[in-house]
Structures are given as C-alpha cells and as structure tokens.
C-alpha cells in the first residue's frame, strides 16, 4: 500500500545566505497550542511536572532548542515544542496539535537585526530584546512569532501557507542589507 510522503513548508526554497545572514528552515517536531482554561498557576506547575518547562510569562520563552521548549504565543496561550503533550495537561488547558500548522525558520548572522528591522515593527535590538524574549507581531504583512535564540539568531514562525511569502520578504531584506555592506 502507498505511504504518504511528508513535505516541509519551505522544502526546496531554503537555505540561502546573503551577505552575513543565513536563512534556513528548522523542523521543530511536535508543536502543541496550550491554552489555559482555569488557573494559570496550576497549568504552569502541571507543565513543569510533565515536561520540565513551565508556562512562560508574556513575551518570554522557557527551555532551549533541543529540549522541551515553551514559547509564549498570545493571551493565555503558549506553544509547547518538542514533546507530545502529556494527557494530564488537559485538565488545565485546551491542547491543539499544531505540528503542521506553522512554518519555522531560523535567521542568523551579523546583520540579522538590520534584516529584521526592515520587516518587524518591534524593537528587536539585543539591548531590548534578549535571548529568550519572544513577540507576536507582524513580519511585513504576515502574522508571526519571533523569538531571539542567540546573540545573532532568531526563530520565526508563520502560518505554513505563507512560507513562500516569508522567504520572499526575508530574502528581499537580506539582499538590501547585503548591498549596503557592499557600498562600504
């Protein structure tokens, strides 16, 4: 019997590099919308017990790449990344599988802040937006989740269907920034 072949949102589009900045797709594995129902504190401790990361404060992430990670994703909502959610969480939260709903890319390099300042209406400079900070905002006209993962690295999530537009927007900005370097 035929088997269904999986396809990533940015397949065949990435990676590429312009100037000092590299854009690549990342596979985050299982992603689950965790929406609090009831007491937030109870949900946070249940999350900690089950997965070792609590429910993050607004605009923050808990955990790191590789291990379980919880990215704040909206009012009373977080994205649990990595493990399949423990069933016990259902007492405190609505859980929704979003593993296929979002396209995830990493963008990194020396000029990454200059690339993103062309697209994002939030101050993402390191002094204000540190590692572990996250924002729900827009990238161009695309609704996005943007998280700083390193001094020159960000994780960006957008709806899967907009992967091509995301790549287009980022590549335009990357080229423009690279051209300025060329001008010295």
């Amino acid at each position: 019997m035929a088997k269904l072949k999986a396809r990533m949102p940015c397949e065949e589009m990435l990676p590429f590099t312009f100037g000092t900045v590299k854009l690549d797709e990342t596979n985050l594995g299982v992603m689950t919308s965790v929406m609090a129902l009831g007491e937030d504190a109870a949900l946070s401790s249940a999350l900690s017990d089950a997965h070792g990361v609590g429910f993050p404060k607004a605009n923050r992430t808990l955990g790191n790449a590789g291990g379980p990670r919880c990215i704040w994703f909206g009012q009373r909502q977080a994205m649990l990344i990595g493990p399949a959610p423990d069933d016990r969480l259902q007492v405190y939260a609505a859980l929704v599988d979003q593993s296929d709903g979002w396209c995830a890319v990493t963008v990194e390099g020396e000029d990454v802040e200059h690339v993103l300042e062309r697209l994002v209406p939030v101050d993402l400079r390191r002094m204000h937006f540190k590692r572990g900070h996250t924002a729900r905002t827009q990238l161009g006209h695309i609704s996005a989740s943007i998280t700083r993962t390193g001094s020159q690295a960000f994780l960006i999530l957008v709806f899967r269907s907009m992967a091509a537009s995301l790549v287009h927007e980022l590549s335009q900005a990357m080229r423009a920034v690279a051209s300025r370097r060329g001008n010295g």
Binding site: L4, A6, R118, S165
Partner: protein, 977 residues
C-alpha cells in the same frame, strides 16, 4: 565660476555629468546646481504658469526653480532639486517644463498674456460652450500644466522600508543638532541623529564661522566622527525626517543610493524609515526669505545664504560682480565672504536707514532694489535710494528678507506656529508635538553660540526625563552676533514681484485676491495657488501672509498663520509603498495541493489571499466550460476530489464551548452529539448574515468550526469579541487550525468506495452516516473524516496533517481517476452548489438576513443569540423583501448572467420596476441548461412566475421562471445514500 582654494568639494576627484545633453565637469561633493554654477550655467528651469526663465534660488531642498529630471527611460525621476542632487560619474539630468528647449521655450508666450492669467482667471471663463471644457480647454490646460513627466513605465528600482527605535531623535545635524546629539550620546542615551544633507553640519558647512577656534565644518566633522564611533548612536545622513505622527513616531526618507550610479541588484534607491522615539529634538535650522520686487525671479538672483553656501561649501561664485539686497545683518556675511574670496561686491543695498554697517564694498542704506534687468540672466539691478533711481551692473544679486525658522514638523500634529515680532517670523509653539523640544535656528535663535547652547540644553532636559546622568560637556566657543532685522516683504512699485516663484504668484495676485474677498489666508492660498508648489510655500508663505495683511489692513498675526502638513519634503510613492509592487502587495497563501494542481495544468485563481484551482483541463478540452462540465459529471456520477483546506477551521474547547456556539449561531449546538456535524448560520449583531458553515463535535467540550474561506479571519475575531468582551466569564479557548490540516472533499456516489481503499478501517453507512465525523487512519496517518456535502452528493471531507497534504491529494486524485472521476476546481464546485441551492458570499453579501436566504425559521426561539433581536426589526421581516430564489431560463435565450436585474414580464427595465437580481449562475450539465440563484421581492411566493432578467451591460435579456433554489435532489437522498 569656481574659486580657487575655496569649498569642501574634493578637487582630486573630478566627475563628469550631462545636463540637457551637454557634458559638464564638477567634483565629488558637488550638487548639480553647484557644478552648473561653476560652469557658469545659470538657466536651469522654467516656471509653472508663465514659463519664465529661472536659475537656482537656494542651495537646499526648498529649491522652487531648479527642478530637473534625473536619468532616462523607465527609471527617469522628475522634479529632482538640482540643489540636492549630488553628481556622480555618468549622471544624466534634463531640464523640465520647456519645449522645444530650455533656452527657447514656446510657452514663454504665456508671459505676454500674463495680464489675462491673473489669480483665479480660470474660474471666470472657459464656460462656453458647455461641452468645450472637457474637449478643448481642459486638455490644453492639462498639457501646459505639470512640471516633469513620469516615464509611463513600471518603476524598475528597488525601495525599502524599515523601523528604528531610540530614546531621542535629533532632527538636523547643524550646530544645535550636533550639540544635542553629543550631549545625549555621551550620557549613554540611545540616539538617532538624522540630516537631509549628504554632509552633516548644516550651516557650519556654508559659513566661515569658527567653533572652538576651528572652522565650523571641521568641528562638525569631528563631532560626526565621534557620534559615529559610539554604539548607542545612529547617524543618518541623506535622511529627511518627513513627518511627525502620534506617540513619538516619525517618518523619514533616506536616499540610500540616489548619489550613485551603477547600483547592484537588490540595492535600494531609497529607504522609508519609521522612527519611534521617546523624545525628539528639532534642530532643523531656518530658511532664508527672498524679497519681492519687480522681476526678482531672474536667473542670477538668489538668497544671500545660498550665494554664501555656493562659495564656502562648493567653492563657486554664482557671479563676478555680486550685489546684496538685505533687511538684516546676516546678509553682510555674503559680501564679506565674497570679498575675502576675491570676488567683487558691487554694492550692498540695505533697506534699513539707521544701520552703521561697513565693509570693503559700497553700502546703500535706506535703499531698495526695485527692478532687475537682463534677459535670461541678470545684468543689472535698479535701486531706489533717497527717492532717486540708480542702476548697478551685477550678474548675481544675493537677497535676504530674513530667515524663517523651519517649524514644519511642529505643525504636523495640528499645532500652529507663533508669531515673533522681533524676528518677524513664526516660531514653534511650545508643546506642539508631544515629546518634542526645539533648539537653534528653528526656534528663532540664529547665532552659533545660541544654537550650541540650546542644543545642549534640549539634550539635558531629555536626559533628565530619561533618568540619565548628564555628562559634563563643555560648550564650545562660538560667535554670538545679534540678528537685527527691519521688516521688508515687498518693494512698492509696478509690475510683477514674485512671491511663489514656481507657481508664479506675484504680489499683485495676493492683492487682487483680497479685493475679491479672499481675505482669509486659506482663501488667498487656494485662490492664487500661493504655497501649493513643490516647496510647500517654504520660500514664500510668510511673505504672502504679510502682503495679505497689508492689503487687508490687518497685522500679520491677526491675518492668520501658516501651517505645514507631512511630508516635509516630497517622498516617492515607491518609497512609502516599498515592496508592494508585483506580488509583494499582500502575502500569498498556498495550499498543500498547489504544486500538484499547477502540474495538472489548473489555472490558479485568487480566493482572498489563497490560490485555488479554477478547473483541471484534460487533453482535447478547448474551453473551461468543457472541463467544468466534466468535473461536475464526475461528482454526480463517480467521485471528485477538491482541496477545501482554505475554509477556516477553528478549534473551540472548554466547559462553555457549547454555550459559545449557541450564542453565535442562530441554531442550537449544545444538543449536538459527539461524533456529529451540524450546519450553522451566524449573524452579525445587526441581524444580517455573517457567515455559515459546519461545526463538528469532537468531544464533550470540544468542537471544530468551519468558516467560509473569505470570512475566516472575521469569524475568528468575532468569536474572540464574544468570548472576551461579552462573555469573559465563560471558560472557553479557541485557536485556528486552518493550517494544521489539509482537507479534501471526496464527493460522489463512489466516494466511499474510494475512501475504503485508503482508510485503515473501512466505513459504511451505519458506522459513518450522513453528518458523522471522527478520527480515522489514512494510509497509516492519523486524520479526520467528516461526512458532509457541499455538492448534495454522498460526500466526505478527509483531513490529514498538512505535511501529508500533497501526497494525499495526489493519491486521492489518482484513485478518483481510476474510478472514472478526478479532481475538480472552483468552477465545478460553484455549479454543484448552485444546483443544490447552497449559498456563498455571493448570496450572503452583507445585506441579507436569515429570513432572506430562507433560514428564518432556523433562529431558535428558545435562546438568545447574536443578531436575533435586530433581525426582528420590522423592516427586516416584511414579506416583500428580496428573498432567495432559483432562476431557470425558459424562453428562446438560454443564457443567464450574474449581473442581471429582474423585472415583471412586460415591465420596463427601470429602477422603479426593479424586482431583484441574480447573484450566481452556472451551466448545469445535469439539466443541460443555465441555472441561477438570486433574490426577488417576495421570492418564495412567486415560484412559477415568469419574469424578465435584463443585463444591459452584456446586452442580454432572458425570460426566467422563478423557482425554488434547490435544483437537484431536493429531498436530499443522495447525500444520505
């Protein structure tokens, strides 16, 4: 004429450029204007109305005369100020608004007819005969109007936009701005300093004034270097702050590559910045005023500060025998600098009688220039001194009527500037822009010392507000000369004395406006077009106001004020709309089956932001209709596959999820069993239909709602509104899962047969009846199966995680083809749903109620819901409302069109007789005829009536029978089979 040893241009870097086809030499650092003046070219443009020959008036972005077109072909850029365009090797520029040439301009004949072309003449004539306005007068006027021209081709250049954030934005990098930035930056504030010039420094680059014992431009360069070395500072040169907006937001235009040829691919020409700041310091300087006198527009007549700037910054003397006409002290600097540079100064004409000024040049005190003489270049001026007329030979007159502080940005949030009599000028009103302070010349403080002092003081205030410790920055030493001025706006006399140079508004025009009762300054401006030119009145508004005040016998502050709106200087549409050209205007959303559909040759059409296949052509099919008919037949007779992933899917969970659904749908969902789906209709609060769709109950407290593709976002927002604003006490959470699932309709009598080949556990009519739903395993992948139908056939929608979407779609289509069916697109989908009378947003177009679409009885009587009360308004339940019906053509013409209006048989097709209209049509292969849906007054009561459907635009008139909107299987047996 270039002056040896003068100027800041790089003499080691010669640059060649072309103006009107002729080659000229200049140096790096030159503008087109300075380089042309160095080559003794004085004629650079023509005025708007009279086509008067014009030379350069200023040395900055306020230039009204010397407007040129840069480049050629598609990237030609009109209306560039020669005074700001830097030259580069290979630059090609042309003059404008002249034909056949700048020197011999045919429309200069307008100048002879000037007496007929006074203020507002066009309001009084061109009215006869009536049809001549569009046919004769207007085309002639239009052709003559305008300045430069667009190429007419798509803009080939790249532009970008960006956001920047800071604690303090310093606008202007003259002495005040640089001092403010240094003070703030040294204390650790997050600073952006922006200046429109390529070279920061402001007037320090144009003067020979000293700061701390060195030339001002040297101090400025040192300050800029220090700022650029600091990580908390961003120095933005060639960047004009164009507008002040709410909550500390500023627009700014950076000319990234306008000064360079041969840009690399992807390099932006300009960048439009949105700068967000806690505080701003306006240090934008001042703009010198011309004085109105007869023929004051002749090439060679310039502002005094501009003449000085050309000498000191660019090493150019605009003349060989310079005269100065002034009402203030400042212009004497021009004479002094000229003499020091070895240029002859023929005279200084000072309108003030009581001054004791001297220099190495003749000074006429209490004198006025009353006329200029020459052809296309100044040859001499006539002056009146002690009541006597004298003529002075001169090829450059430097005039100064005083300085206007650059208050523009302080007006952008509706504040009006304040009149200051001592300097005869408007200054910013305190608090005009929240968070903005002002320093230096833009607030009427003109000495270098004053500018430095105020810049530092403004920064210290900001630092205090930011809670930062003020660093000990010593104030540099600089001149503190007094600015002494006696008002002189217009020299009395006959003839035309220009105020607004570009628009050819003269003193007499303002006076005539006053006579004709355009005495309000706003009326005068609109009647004469004063201040409407590309300089936004920067050079002329205050003088025009003064002339109006005089003409109406009022003081200047009593007459009115002047205001300015964004942008400070004009901004290219391409810059503010950067990235939107072509496909960049809105994000594109692609379904997982997109590639497969394109590979199958399907034309993809826009559905909101999504792309969906229109139809799937097969070899031998010549028209879309042939494909569509085949696809409809597939579904009716075998099985069809359609990607329906674009429909909104909202996962709704929580103890109060059912209550929420009961509240937003007109029908009841709390009674729905787990594992079942129900159709629902939701209203806006005003009683009209918002959207429709199915909603499945996956668990006791979990539902999945589907919305139409078009309304997915609107419905999500509506649900959040209800949950957060109306019922925050409810425990309910929702999120969109539209993107998580790839979902396909599998429709037709063979749909179950097809699915059973894919599902790991087979289904039958008992375990999966009509309107059942649940989880399934599809070729080993977990998915969802809904037995719902938008075609009326036995049908399902099957969903898998999106990563498997493409694979499943290909698999489904292949299997469907094996069963005598195949993929179907939007055209077939539309026909199928019309045949069943299912509505889309063509019918629920925002003006229809549940009653109108035949679902009035679905509104539950036993519960409240959004829209229920207002839907019962008397006007919305009358019988003769336009209500949903079907249409069948029954006469000789069998065509229907979804633009036709419907009339009673025999009635004239007029608005008074209008009975309704057709909203959707399709050719039904099942009937072998066109059928349609639409609305007719008292619709359901008129079934069987024969009416006229008239589409004037398509020249189509059809006899139609009004019928129930369900054409196929009205009992609904097929879907249940």
């Amino acid at each position: 004429m270039r002056i040896k040893g003068k100027g800041l241009v790089d003499r080691s870097d010669p640059v060649t450029f072309r103006f009107d086809g002729r080659s000229y030499d200049g140096f790096a650092g030159d503008t087109v204007a300075s380089a042309l003046l160095a080559n003794d070219v004085k004629l650079m443009g023509r005025s708007f109305k009279y086509h008067r020959p014009r030379g350069v008036l200023t040395a900055g972005s306020e230039e009204p005369n010397a407007l040129i077109t840069v480049g050629a072909g598609a990237s030609a850029e009109p209306n560039v100020r020669a005074t700001t365009q830097e030259i580069y090797e290979g630059l090609e520029v042309r003059s404008q608004n002249a034909w056949p040439s700048l020197d011999l301009d045919a429309l200069a004949v307008n100048n002879l007819f000037a007496p007929l072309l006074g203020a507002g003449f066009y309001y009084k004539t061109f009215m006869w005969p009536k049809a001549f306005w569009e046919r004769v007068y207007e085309p002639v006027i239009r052709r003559a109007a305008g300045l430069g021209g667009l190429s007419g081709q798509p803009n080939p250049d790249t532009y970008e936009r960006a956001f920047a954030f800071c604690d303090v934005l310093v606008i202007g990098a003259g002495p005040a701005g640089l001092m403010a930035a240094l003070t703030a930056a040294r204390a650790g504030a997050d600073v952006i300093i922006a200046d429109e010039d390529a070279r920061p420094g402001g007037r320090l680059n144009a003067e020979l004034l000293e700061v701390d014992g060195e030339l001002g431009h040297v101090w400025a360069a040192r300050a800029v270097a220090e700022l650029e070395s600091m990580s908390n500072v961003r120095v933005m040169s060639r960047t004009t702050v164009t507008g002040a907006y709410d909550q500390g937001t500023f627009g700014a235009l950076e000319r990234v590559n306008q000064h360079r040829g041969g840009r690399s691919d992807g390099a932006p020409l300009e960048c439009f910045w949105r700068i967000v700041t806690k505080h701003s310091i306006l240090a934008a300087g001042a703009i010198e005023r011309p004085i109105a006198f007869q023929n004051n527009d002749r090439p060679g007549i310039m502002t005094a500060g501009a003449v000085r700037a050309y000498l000191n910054r660019w090493g150019v003397s605009p003349g060989r025998a310079v005269t100065v006409f002034t009402n203030n002290n400042d212009a004497y600097r021009t004479a002094q600098d000229m003499v020091a540079a070895g240029v002859r100064v023929a005279a200084v004409i000072d309108s003030r009688a009581d001054v004791r000024s001297t220099g190495e040049f003749p000074v006429y005190r209490g004198a006025q220039v009353c006329n200029s003489n020459g052809g296309k270049e100044l040859e001499s001026i006539s002056i009146i001194v002690n009541g006597k007329s004298e003529k002075i030979q001169t090829d450059c007159l430097a005039m100064s009527g005083g300085w206007n502080p650059t208050v523009h940005l302080t007006c952008h949030m509706n504040s009006r500037p304040t009149w200051r009599a001592d300097i005869q000028a408007f200054v910013p009103t305190e608090g005009a822009v929240p968070g903005m302070s002002t320093a230096g010349a833009c607030r009427g403080t003109f000495s270098t010392h004053g500018c430095l002092t105020e810049g530092a003081a403004a920064a210290r205030e900001v630092l205090a507000a930011l809670g930062k410790k003020v660093s000990d920055t010593a104030l540099p030493q600089a001149e503190d000369a007094p600015y002494n001025l006696a008002p002189l706006w217009a020299v009395a006399g006959k003839g035309r004395a220009w105020l607004d140079f570009q628009n050819d508004v003269c003193v007499k025009d303002v006076k005539q406006a006053a006579v004709e009762n355009f005495r309000s300054v706003e009326h005068m401006k609109r009647y004469t077009t004063q201040g409407m030119a590309t300089d936004q009145g920067k050079n002329s508004n205050v003088a025009a106001l003064a002339v109006l005040a005089d003409a109406t016998g009022r003081g200047i502050p009593q007459t009115g004020t002047t205001t300015f709106r964004p942008p400070y200087s004009p901004v290219a549409i391409a810059a503010m709309g950067a990235g939107a050209q072509g496909k960049g205007f809105a994000p594109q959303r692609f379904t997982t089956s997109h590639r497969a559909s394109v590979a199958a040759g399907a034309p993809m059409i826009e559905a909101g932001l999504w792309y969906r296949p229109s139809y799937f052509p097969k070899p031998g099919e010549k028209t879309w209709r042939q494909s569509c008919d085949r696809e409809v037949n597939h579904v009716r007779n075998a099985v069809g596959i359609c990607d329906v992933s674009t429909l909104g899917k909202i996962d709704i969970q929580g103890p109060d999820a059912a209550a929420l659904l009961d509240f937003v749908y007109i029908n009841t969902f709390s009674t729905l069993k787990v594992g079942r789906v129900r159709y629902g209709l939701m209203l806006r609060e005003d009683g009209t239909v918002l959207d429709d769709g199915t909603c499945a109950r996956l668990g006791a407290t979990r539902f999945v709602m589907t919305t139409t593709t078009a309304a997915a976002g609107t419905v999500m927002r509506h649900l959040e509104f209800v949950a957060q604003c109306l019922r925050p006490e409810w425990q309910v959470a929702m999120t969109s899962t539209t993107e998580q699932w790839a979902q396909f309709a599998v429709a037709g009598p063979k749909s179950r047969e097809l699915l059973n080949g894919l599902l790991d556990a087979p289904i039958d009519n008992d375990n999966w009846p009509f309107m059942a739903c649940g989880e399934v395993s599809v070729l080993g992948v977990g998915g969802r199966l809904f037995r719902i139908s938008f075609s009326g056939e036995h049908a399902y929608e099957i969903a898998v995680p999106a990563r498997y979407g493409e694979a499943l779609f290909r698999e489904l289509v292949a299997r469907a083809e094996g069963l005598g069916g195949g993929a179907y697109g939007m055209e077939a989908l539309n026909v199928l749903r019309i045949e069943k009378g299912f509505i889309t947003h063509s019918e629920i177009h925002g003006r229809t109620t549940a009653y109108d679409v035949g679902m009035g009885r679905m509104i539950s009587a036993t519960k409240d819901c959004i829209g229920k009360v207002m839907a019962a308004r008397p006007g919305l339940v009358v019988k003769d409302r336009e209500r949903l019906v079907g249409f069948k053509p029954i006469g000789a013409v069998k065509q229907l069109s979804a633009g036709a209006h419907v009339f009673a048989a025999g009635a004239q097709a007029s608005r008074e007789n209008d009975q309704g209209y057709i909203t959707s049509v399709g050719f039904s292969p099942s009937f072998g005829a066109y059928i349609g849906l639409g609305f007719v007054k008292s619709g359901p009561e008129r079934y069987g009536e024969v009416m006229r459907a008239v589409d004037h635009l398509h020249e189509l008139e059809v006899e139609v029978e009004i019928c129930p909107p369900v054409f196929v299987d009205p009992e609904g047996r097929r879907a249940r089979g």
